[in-house]
Amino acid sequence: MRFFRLKTMLILAVLASLFFIRAIVANGDQAPARQRRGPFFIWPALAEEAAVEALVPKADALAGWPMLDEVRAFEGEELFDFIDGAAEPFYTYGFLRVATADYQNEDGQFLTVEIYEMDSSANAFGIYSFNRPSQGEKVEMGTRGVMAESILYCWKDRYYIKVHTFPDSPAARDAVKAFAEIIAKNIKEEGPPPALLKLLPCEGLIPGSEKFLHQKKILDNIQFLSRENVLKLSEKTNMVLADYKMEEGKVTLFIVEYPDAEECKLASLSYAKFLDTPAAQKIKAAKWMTCDAFLVGSWGEPEDKATQLTKRACANIQYYLKLKKK
């Protein structure tokens, strides 16, 4: 009898250890949470699911702004149920899950928190850069972001955050910032921005104009080139764009990183064909260059300055490649 008890306890201990080891492994790797689901791995998967909800400020987090109802979460295709057509761009940035909650003060003003979990900090920056307005008050309070009117857009680690209030008032705007600060404190890691941003030349760069993306449908919203995918963008490509202030005019510089030099070459041939079209002339597409797996180009005027900018970006890439080899 005693032997059987001991045996049962031993089996239970082994099983518990297996689950514990699996939990550590699952939380340590970089695979998206959705791919980790499975009946055997219920515990770590649930822990992951709960993570983004846990970042939402609690019901009593800010005095005078109690939570209405409860925290809601949407994942995968459910995002369409939350923001309909606005959901599509999120999928190009590795969307995993969103948690949202509403708060209301005594004056009847509403405040909404939305925390989107993406598969990497680079993609959190990407969706932030896509959604943020071009102008607004810079916000640095543990998050990196911008506040425009009564809406605060920011990102930290793998999370893109939007906090907004209605109707607008100075007090409600202060509450928006306070909620963003609470969320930022709840997120422990900083998370690096996309590495490609470092390749952009600094001189003349208009702060806040940097955008990071992967796919054509996002570029179409920023700068429509053609119905054809002339830059051969895909989920495997990384692209940054930024605006540069010139003495006369403005230039947009772009860098696309392809999986390898061969794909970059194919894209450059396609882009070269596009440059002969009226659409390219309309946006004043300037000279482009390739450097290993990177394609660099620009749009805007004056052309000579745009070409200089392209060359400077290429020099940055070459330096980066040298460092990488070392």
């Binding site: 939350f82 923001i83 309909d84 959901a87 761009p89 209605f166 179409d220």
Partner: protein, 316 residues
Amino acid sequence: MGKKSSRREFLGKSVKGALALGASFIFGFGKKEPLFSEETEAATRASPLSNVVAVGSGKDPGENTLAALALLGGMGAFVKPGDLVVVKPNISWDRRPEQAATTNPDVVAAVVKECLKAGAGKVRIFDRALNDPRRCYRNSGIAKAAQDAGAEVFFPKDYDYIDVKFPRARRLKAWPLHRAALEADVFINLPIAKDHNEAKLTLCMKNLMGIMGDRRGRIHQGLHQNLADLNSGFKPHLNILDANRIQVAHGPNASLLADVREPKMVIAGVNAVSVDAYAAAHLPWERDFGGMVEYIQYAGEMGLGEADLASIEVRK
């Protein structure tokens, strides 16, 4: 969350469910035939207004609505005494009117009043909201404006959708549509014009997504053709596009006033394709979307309406 239902609650829910199921059965839940589109389409094609677009412009959104309607012969040309009229504005978002994410409440009120003036027996208003429906209806100002004007405002229920086939569709062959839209004597499509990051623009044709049931997210794969297909299966009697204020960036759910422009127009017509083609070409959009919006182009190719601007008669 996690609260256990009491026996009374359970019984209550069961009875409600049984009643809903019974009602669905009696009234034809699961019907697969189009209830609405063929006769409407025939009437639309025969209409001398089939390729006419009317534009009312000026400072007052309500006046612009009346002006556009007058150019089409007035609401009496569409609504007959005793008709059940269903109006479908855009009430999808929890935004205030100035943010131009939802149809202007003054336009909604003007349409309701004109319907009742023409003798409508009842005017009903609904949309399938994306944010909390109570807040969307209230903060958009639409519920109050519509009720004050004499309309009945309601929230669509999940069990009130009927499967409808789209025989002319190329891709989206069927979808559940809301019973109220299908059973109306007159259906008035009342969207607001906006930028849309996937569809490029959301105008009349896209606004019909608000009568769709089920998981609408699924239609985003191949969205442009799906929108054309939806419009091949369901045709409003009248389309009134609110372009008094429009979002020109970060749509469809932009919140910033910086993204709003004021063309101060209402564009109306019996054919959604023509109204959309005109709006795509003539409203002050600020981003380049590469010429014709695909879903309008596809609808034109499918013969759903006149998309060629040269063939559209514009009345101002």
